[in-house]
């Protein structure tokens, strides 16, 4: 068998899945479609590899495939006309976009790892756009507690970013 072993493929799958989804999400803005696209891209790479095609750089290949599939999805979807996100992406290099997708994957994981109550408050605020006062009323908490929890949640998320920046700008 040429190229990639099953173990390697599984390892790549698990480490690349989230960043690829977040990469695609930038374009499609739809979580479910994004997961389908990424699954398809992996499926395609797997079939090619089993069929004897040597994929030199699986990561680059997958990002390219996900990008193309995401674009064609958006262009076929009537709900997505020209999105505002696309020009935003175009003025950064492909490498930077991949890097951003990886950082976003870390943020996603950081949200995953928030304590349940803090996560709920964070998502009510940032995802659902609720005011602190509204959250406090709904959860029967004081506004102070909500503020406090939000502060801790944001700190945790920013710290994942800070670590990456530190690595980026201060390699010494």
């Amino acid at each position: 068998m040429t190229g990639i072993s099953l173990q390697e493929f599984e390892r790549s799958f698990k480490s690349l899945y989230k960043p690829l989804c977040l990469y695609s999400l930038r374009i499609t803005e739809s979580l479910d479609d994004t997961e389908d696209i990424v699954q398809q891209a992996f499926s395609d790479a797997w079939d090619k590899s089993r069929g004897g095609v040597v994929i030199d750089n699986l990561k680059a290949y997958l990002y390219r495939a996900v990008y193309n599939r995401s674009l064609s999805f958006v262009s076929q979807s009537p709900s997505h006309q020209t999105t505002e996100e696309l020009p935003d992406m175009e003025d950064t290099s492909e490498d930077e976009q991949i890097y951003e997708a990886e950082r976003n994957a870390r943020l996603w994981r950081a949200i995953d790892n928030l304590p349940p109550a803090r996560k709920t408050i964070f998502l009510m605020s940032k995802r659902d756009g609720m005011k602190y006062r509204e959250i406090a009323e709904k959860l029967e908490l004081s506004v102070k507690t909500v503020e406090n929890q939000m502060g801790k949640a944001l700190k945790a998320l920013r710290e994942t970013a800070v670590r990456i920046y530190t690595f980026l700008f201060c390699p010494a």
């Binding site: 799958f13 989230k18 930038r26 979580l31 943020l107 995802r127």
Partner: protein, 281 residues
């Protein structure tokens, strides 16, 4: 520069939060979907080193507990056999003592015994001196009978067609293996179980020489010829018959570790009878 970065971070947080959904884009779930679709066999033990370690730990625990369990419930049978012409003294874990006559064997489960199940199986003849322990009765089973005691000394003599019990000290309960009513015997009493009768019955015959195989001394106190023949046969392990019926004779004598020939010679001369060894068939 720093503010710009912070601004970007805030933007990214908003972006990720906007799309965040619990349990979405989970790589492990996605891999499961993928591998099922592709017919890839899930290799449980290579899913991750973490789970591998846990599985190994569980396996080790399981193996250890199984081993521990087997070690605790397993039986360890101890069998002691005496050869012909050999008297064997055996001390049990509870410091009870067994003196085995020749060609006898005892058997007990060492692990059970140490836990308080003081059960011994006997084939042949043996004298028991049982350490008193009211919480754990001591029992001896032969093929046909069971003796239960608390703490005493007694002798059991199992033969092909009968089992005889002699109580030296204390009190014992004697019953056939079928579990009919127990017979309680106290010091100096004897009982016998015969295949013919199928029950245990008191045995009133003279028991002066019942322990002779241990002491090597035979004592006759106004003993009938019938009793002499019986005790000598038992003591020397042969069948003795009288070839010269000479009326109702009685003997009072002691023999201290004499040979069969010497003993027979003395008795024949004293009583004017003709005791001989009946050759085996």
């Amino acid at each position: 520069m720093k503010n710009e970065q912070e601004d970007k971070t805030e933007k990214r947080i908003r972006f990720v939060a906007k799309h965040y959904r619990e349990d979405a884009i989970d790589e492990n779930k996605a891999w499961q979907v993928f591998s099922e679709k592709k017919g890839i066999k899930q290799r449980r033990f290579t899913l991750s080193h973490y789970w591998q370690a846990i599985a190994a730990a569980i396996l080790v625990c399981f193996a250890l507990s199984t081993w521990y369990y087997l070690e605790n419930v397993k039986e360890e049978w101890l069998i002691v056999v005496s050869d012909s012409g050999q008297i064997k003294k055996v001390f049990l874990p509870d410091s009870s003592m067994i003196v085995m006559a020749e060609n006898s064997s005892i058997k007990y489960n060492l692990i059970g015994f140490k836990k308080g199940n003081r059960d011994v199986e006997l084939k042949g003849k043996a004298f028991f001196q049982v350490k008193r322990d009211e919480d754990s009765p001591f029992s001896v089973s032969t093929a046909k009978t069971v003796v239960k005691v608390l703490g005493t000394s007694f002798q059991l003599n199992e033969k092909t067609d009968r089992t005889a019990l002699y109580v030296s000290t204390g009190k014992v309960a004697f019953a056939s293996i079928e579990g009919d009513e127990e017979m309680i015997l106290t010091e100096g009493m004897s009982a016998i179980y015969t295949d013919r009768d199928g029950v245990v019955m008191e045995d009133a015959t003279d028991k002066s020489n019942v322990l002779a195989w241990q002491t090597k001394e035979l004592h006759f106190n106004n003993a009938s010829l019938e009793q002499i023949v019986r005790d000598l046969s038992e003591y020397y392990g042969v069948e003795i018959v009288n070839r010269l019926d000479n009326g109702n004779k009685h003997l009072t004598a002691s023999f201290n570790d004499l040979s069969l020939d010497e003993t027979l010679l003395i008795i024949n001369q004293t009583l004017d009878v003709h005791l001989v060894v009946q050759p085996a068939d």
